[in-house]
């Protein structure tokens, strides 16, 4: 088997303040080329810290203390910022959470679609425009030639997210990180956007790291899953196995709370208190074991 595209090993992060609270506890995961891996967890589980660590955007209040993030065999954590910028700019992309704030309000849609192509692929203005037009058609935006000249405030939320998806796939990156890309959208639009990401991912054979708190969303799109709780991976493996035969109590509780995980619209029930307590105990035990090792 070929080596994975993305391989995260033993990633640990702590708060930089005096509490030094652990944010990520020994997170490891691999993502093969063309695969969709879901990082699932409740808010504060550390799922977005994993995404930010890959992109070199960890907030100043959090410090990565240990681990490796290999993209095509290069450890991103060991690179200087210049090389990191070059690699990420050309080979990775982000589909952000909130399409209403992720496009620059002062720049036309076309300019925001073509700037990366011109910088990293060296395309001429005309060639970049042609590529952007094709991308807009691919994400099913009507009248793409007109949309190129619009400002973001002239687009609906769903259209903006389509533009952002087009931008993410513009450079044919090897890895796309989708950070809760449907959370800020209407339920009806959510499904279309999910389907679009899946279609684009399949067509371009792109690996996608899909960060979400919604089990139903993850079930629809992911090949493999990692379940995070308090920064610790509780269960990991093929999505079908986890959804059909969950091994960990936390996963079972999550599934029980989402009886219709094929329908993201249904709102989840809270996870029972005893399960949370047991999970916390498990995390604490792992912390103690680590402390004895160290």
């Amino acid at each position: 088997m070929s080596p994975p595209l993305l391989s995260i090993a033993g990633l640990r992060a702590r708060r930089r303040d005096r509490s030094a609270q652990p944010i990520l506890r020994d997170v490891s995961l691999t993502l093969a080329a063309g695969e969709v891996h879901g990082i699932l967890g409740e808010s504060g589980a550390g799922k977005s810290t994993v995404a930010k660590a890959i992109l070199g955007l960890v907030p100043r209040g959090i410090r990565i203390t240990d681990g490796r993030i290999l993209l095509d065999g290069r450890n991103l954590l060991a690179l200087d910022s210049r090389s990191l910028r070059r690699i990420l700019g050309a080979e990775a992309a982000l589909i952000p959470q909130d399409p209403s704030t992720a496009l620059n309000p002062g720049r036309r849609v076309g300019a925001q679609l073509t700037d990366g192509l011109r910088l990293w692929r060296g395309l001429s203005a005309a060639a970049a425009d042609r590529r952007a037009l094709a991308l807009l058609e691919e994400v099913q935006i009507r009248e793409p030639a007109r949309v190129m000249w619009l400002y973001p405030h002239e687009l609906s939320g769903g259209m903006r997210q389509r533009v952002l998806i087009a931008a993410a796939f513009a450079l044919e990156p090897k890895l796309v990180i989708a950070d809760e890309p449907t959370t800020a959208l209407d339920v009806t639009v959510q499904k279309q956007i999910l389907r679009l990401i899946r279609v684009m991912q399949t067509r371009h054979r792109t690996a996608v790291l899909f960060v979400t708190h919604a089990l139903g969303v993850a079930a629809q799109i992911c090949d493999t899953l990692s379940l995070l709780f308090m920064g610790k991976v509780m269960e990991q493996g093929p999505a079908a196995d986890i959804l059909l035969a969950p091994r960990h109590a936390y996963t079972r509780a999550l599934l029980a709370a989402n009886p219709r995980h094929d329908r993201p619209a249904s709102s989840p029930e809270p996870i029972p208190e005893p399960v949370i307590a047991a999970c916390k105990a498990e995390v604490a035990a792992a912390d103690r074991a680590d402390a004895e090792d160290g």
Partner: protein, 335 residues
């Protein structure tokens, strides 16, 4: 959309100028000091004084005086200067270009310096230099234009005499000008040596006027840039692999300029007001310098004309800034 704003604001400008005219006229009648007393020779009798009063129309009731003045303005006649015995309108036309060039250059300098300080402070916001820049900017904010002017005179004019101390152009240079816009005219006609000399004369006064404006722009633009740099679109551009400089200039700046302009607009008018004292310090032949003489001589027609011109400049500057704020914001531009 823009045309409608221009039209509405132009009408308002006329109304405001009318208000300014009334206030100036009233203030000058109430203020102490008699223009006739300043111009009579010793030994003149009460008859001479009365004759002079009649000649300048000062014996008529104030309301009539105001009507005559207003009517004159509408006909393009601003009256005759009492102290200079010349037509006020031609005096203004002669001096105004000098002040427009000076304040225009100061404005450009202030915007450029303030912008540069804000951008550099944003680029270096994680380093100790940012604190240093803040401290320097605090100093710039605290020192008014005329203090800079005096400091420049002492340092660059007297201690190390590298720049000319007064005037608009070296009188030894034999030249003729078609217009009164010396700098523009020489730049356009390609007489660069002359333009250089004019610029050297403008360097100290324009910098003195520019520094307080630069300080305010730097401070407000820095805040606006800091906020813009926190936005998601900058984060996304960072993921695209853009350099820090490109993030600031290409992504954040365009969204920070509008709010900065809206907040610093009033400072632009302070700059125009500052020309009065700064032109005096450098004996620069503009309308500011002339205003001081006019006040000292109680030259009522000239003061009235000058105040109207200053008022018009304030209003035009404000109008241009408001339009720029609209033009810079795509959301407002498209209504």
């Amino acid at each position: 959309m823009l045309a409608a704003i221009v039209l509405r604001r132009s009408l308002m400008t006329i109304v405001t100028l009318f208000g300014v005219a009334i206030v100036v006229f009233l203030l000058l009648r109430v203020a102490p000091g008699d223009p006739i007393a300043m111009m009579i020779s010793p030994g003149a009798g009460p008859d001479d004084v009365a004759a002079l009063r009649a000649r300048y129309g000062l014996d008529a009731p104030p309301l009539i005086q105001f009507w005559i003045w207003l009517h004159g303005i509408l006909m393009g006649d601003f009256g005759t200067s009492i102290s200079l015995r010349l037509d006020v309108l031609s005096l203004l036309a002669e001096r105004l270009p000098a002040t427009l060039e000076l304040s225009g250059l100061a404005l450009a300098l202030g915007v450029f310096l303030g912008g540069a300080i804000a951008v550099i402070a944003t680029l270096l916001r994680r380093s100790f230099v940012a604190g240093l820049i803040d401290a320097v900017n605090g100093l710039l904010l605290a020192v008014p234009d005329f203090v800079w002017a005096l400091a420049f005179v002492l340092v660059l004019g007297v201690l190390i005499p590298v720049l000319p101390l007064s005037g608009r152009i070296d009188p030894a240079l034999e030249t003729t000008f078609v217009t009164r816009f010396y700098l523009v005219e020489n730049l356009v006609s390609g007489r660069l040596a002359l333009a250089g000399d004019i610029l050297r004369h403008m360097a100290m006064p324009s910098l003195a006027l520019a520094l307080p404006l630069a300080a305010v722009i730097a401070r407000i633009l820095k805040e606006a840039l800091a906020e813009a740099m926190q936005q998601d679109y900058v984060l996304l551009a960072r993921v695209k692999g853009f350099s820090e400089l490109r993030l600031v200039l290409g992504e954040a700046l365009r969204n920070a300029v509008g709010p900065t302009l809206a907040l610093t607009g009033v400072q632009f008018t302070f700059l125009i007001g500052g020309t009065v004292i700064v032109e005096r310090i450098f004996s620069y032949p503009g309308i500011g310098n002339m205003a001081i003489d006019a006040v000292i001589n109680r030259d009522l027609p000239l003061i009235q004309g000058l105040v109207l011109v200053f008022g018009l400049m304030f209003l035009v500057v404000n109008l241009v800034i408001d339009l720029a704020v609209v033009a810079l914001n795509p959301k407002l531009r498209h209504g």
